[in-house]
């Protein structure tokens, strides 16, 4: 009896083991379509990039191991410091602007004011245009002498601003174009979240005597916190990776005043062919994005709870 029970138990365990080992082919098929390209074009290059960061390499021939030299050189590279400082300024300009404006626009559309349907399309439309086209258009809009922006500013007595040709303004010039481009996605996300807020919650607040500002402050914004957290996170990551607008609008200049780390990495690798040094820069940017994202997520979680 004991032997039989043991045998059955063993057989059951064997079946369970067999079940664990059984392949669910359909599942693998589904993930393979994404998993294999992701492995080949993302994971492997990242791993290889970590390796290259500790070498001097010009693609042709074997990488020469140089230890931490590339990282040490970054500390004394003023252009790298400037690029990393710039991207923090970009984040400070773009992320709050996009979040606040997208929230305001979403509130406007959600209230169903006249032309809100048209506004919905207008607010989102820049996001469907490529960053390169946005950059080219804004180069003309922000031209110091002939740009539309300076033309209209002139009507209110503001002199021509060298948006893209001055070290004091170029970063803001690029940021303006980026805000205009990025606004659409944030707007749609926030609008969707607004429409999910239960109407009876707002109605109850109204019955209790809450005015529009109180309803916004005590009902709507707390309900929006999760989506605002997501918008800020996505926008932050996108801003830390800013490249196309800079490439098209300023080429990182003048004097590196609008360069971002990605742009600097691009020129270091593709123009100067310093692949080891560029990989080291990329790793530092990766760590920076990771740290900022984690800190930001922790802060939002604490606020939400």
């Amino acid at each position: 009896m004991t032997t039989s029970t043991g045998t059955i138990a063993g057989a059951t365990a064997g079946l369970a083991e067999a079940e664990r080992e059984r392949i669910h082919w359909v599942g693998y098929l589904f993930i393979a379509a994404f998993g294999i390209p992701f492995l080949i074009f993302n994971v492997l290059p990242v791993i290889f990039g970590f390796y290259v960061a500790f070498t001097e390499w010009s693609i042709f021939g074997a990488p020469e191991y140089v230890g931490s030299r590339n990282f040490e050189e970054i500390w004394s590279d003023p252009w790298a410091w400037q690029a990393f400082t710039n991207v923090l300024w970009y984040a400070l300009c773009i992320v709050p602007s996009v979040t606040v404006l997208a929230t305001l626009f979403a509130l406007y559309v959600n209230r169903g004011y006249p032309a809100s349907g048209l506004a919905r399309t207008l607010f989102f439309s820049p996001n469907v245009v490529s960053a390169t086209v946005i950059g080219l258009v804004w180069v003309w809009m922000l031209d110091t002498q002939f740009g539309l922006i300076n033309h209209y500013l002139g009507f209110v007595g503001i002199g021509p601003i060298p948006w893209l040709t001055s070290i004091d303004w170029s970063l803001f010039g690029v940021a303006i174009a980026s805000v205009w481009w990025d606004l659409g996605l944030a707007f749609v996300l926030i609008l969707a979240a607004l429409q999910d807020i239960p109407k009876d919650l707002i109605e109850a607040a109204r019955v209790d005597g809450a005015g529009p500002f109180s309803r916004l402050r005590f009902i709507i914004l707390p309900q929006l916190r999760p989506v605002l957290s997501m918008v800020v996170t996505l926008q932050l990551i996108a801003t830390l990776r800013i490249f196309s607008q800079i490439f098209v609008m300023t080429g990182g200049g003048p004097a590196g005043s609008s360069a971002s780390p990605i742009y600097y990495i691009y020129t270091t690798a593709i123009t100067r062919n310093l692949y080891g040094y560029a990989s080291a820069l990329a790793i530092i940017l990766f760590v920076l994005i990771l740290l900022i994202t984690v800190v930001q997520r922790v802060i939002f979680r604490e606020v939400t709870h």
């Binding site: 083991e17 080992e21 492995l39 042709f60 180069v139 021509p160 060298p162 590196g256 593709i270 100067r272």
Partner: protein, 445 residues
């Protein structure tokens, strides 16, 4: 009765799948390097990478078409592929590393030391002789510029065209300022006088540059490079051992460029696209290269070209030499066919060096009847031919040569000078930084 249930191994377990998958991925990645090049079969298709995408590219495409037409029954054809200029070195390196480099491509003399060191480009002296290309027909200076002293002084590029920077001048602006159509500024003082006469101001702001500049990038860098060289500055000594010879001249040239914006007020920093600005009349004098001629002539711009004025002790200007270089192949048998094709393109480069761009490096082509009258009118083309006599600001043929080039908007030189143009460093501080960076570059060899 006991039933023995055996745990039959499944024909494909997760571990096996992962192992098989990894092997398959590895195999797929390795396959391209193991496979043979199917296009290497007869008839030979010679792969050519070109980054000429502007109006000069159209002329070059015609040259390739002419080669293919002339060789359609001879089993050799050139397949030209366009590669963006800023990516061409990276792509060539990657292609060479995987054994799939193009057979030949465009290069610039003096900028390919790393490719020569790594064996990506192929020495061409013997191949040229084998193919019957008469190297003695080339001007000596351009041929030497295509050699690398550190690598057996071998020839790594067959010169195709010689270019220099010369001023293009808007004829309408000249007429408005009262200058005769055949006049041109000859000295630094005259240049500034001309610039002032053609500049348009709105209050204290320059709205049309007498001398077209940009606030950063290539234009102020190359201007500094030319003026500094005229004043006696050398980026590297002749033996390539010492950087920044005669730094005082380099500092004086930086001050000269700054004065264009701030003292003489003949230029504005607010121009972003220099080519477009000259084409739309936002500037009067614009020093640039012959690659602009097709575009400006095509759009009907009323302009002429003059010789670069003598601003310093000696009249000099930037020299650029375009040419064709060959890349390493697994099948060495392809070299002969490639060199034969390059020889044909060089021998038949009359149109390229009259309509395409630049002056011919070949004595026989320069001596051809009608060379002066072919292509664009002499008043727009002539300075680019005659001006070659004092175009002697060459590239520095070292591994980090691109960091020395004065025609750049993103190398160490350009970025350091931008600190001066934007007031973040004094000329003396910038010169000190440049000397340090360039010395380090020279020490690499």
């Amino acid at each position: 009765m006991m039933t023995k249930i055996t745990n039959t191994p499944h024909p494909m377990s997760r571990r096996r799948l992962l192992k098989s998958g990894a092997a398959a991925v590895g195999g797929a990645l390795a396959a391209p390097t193991l496979s043979t090049r199917v296009w290497a079969q007869s008839p030979i298709e010679i792969v050519h990478w070109s980054w000429l995408a502007a109006s000069d590219g159209e002329v070059w495409a015609k040259s390739i078409d002419a080669f293919n037409e002339a060789h359609k029954d001879k089993g050799v054809q050139i397949k030209m592929e366009l590669v963006p200029e800023d990516q061409v070195v990276t792509k060539t390196l990657a292609a060479a590393a995987t054994g799939r480099a193009p057979d030949f491509g465009w290069g610039t003399a003096g900028k390919g030391a790393k490719l020569a060191r790594d064996g990506v480009t192929v020495p061409m002296d013997e191949l040229a002789v084998e193919s019957g290309l008469d190297l003695s027909d080339f001007e000596e200076g351009p041929l030497n510029a295509a050699r690398y002293p550190a690598y057996d002084n071998a020839l790594y590029l067959i010169p195709m065209d010689l270019m220099s920077l010369q001023p293009e001048i808007n004829l309408q602006h000249m007429a408005e300022a009262g200058f005769a159509p055949d006049a041109a500024p000859e000295t630094g003082e005259e240049l500034i006088e001309w610039g002032k006469a053609m500049t348009r101001m709105d209050g204290d702001t320059v709205t049309r540059s007498g001398i077209l500049m940009t606030g950063s990038g290539v234009q102020p860098t190359v201007t500094w490079g030319i003026v500094a060289a005229q004043m006696g500055f050398e980026r590297a000594s002749a033996d390539l051992k010492t950087a920044a010879v005669n730094p005082e001249a380099g500092i004086a040239a930086m001050e000269w460029v700054l004065a264009l914006f701030d003292e003489w007020k003949v230029s504005t920093r607010d121009v972003t696209d220099r080519y477009k600005a000259f084409g739309t009349g936002q500037g009067s004098i614009f020093w640039t290269g012959p690659w602009t001629l097709n575009g400006y002539v095509g759009q009907g711009l009323d302009f002429k070209t003059a010789l670069f004025p003598q601003i310093g002790e000696k009249r000099r200007t930037y020299f650029e030499e375009g040419g064709l270089e060959m890349y390493v192949q697994q099948d060495k048998g392809r070299y002969k066919a490639t060199m034969d094709a390059i020889k044909w393109l060089s021998d038949n480069s009359f149109e390229w060096t009259t309509v395409g761009r630049g002056a011919s490096p070949r004595k026989s082509i320069l001596a051809m009847p009608g060379y002066d009258t072919a292509g664009h009118p002499w008043n727009v083309r002539g300075a680019f031919i005659e001006g070659m006599s004092f175009a002697d600001i060459y590239e520095v043929p070292v591994l980090d040569g691109p960091e020395f080039t004065i025609y750049s908007g993103g190398n160490i030189l350009a970025k350091t000078l931008e600190l001066v143009w934007t007031g973040q460093a004094t000329p003396a501080q910038a010169m000190e930084q440049l000397a340090t960076a360039w010395q380090k570059a020279l020490d690499k060899g």
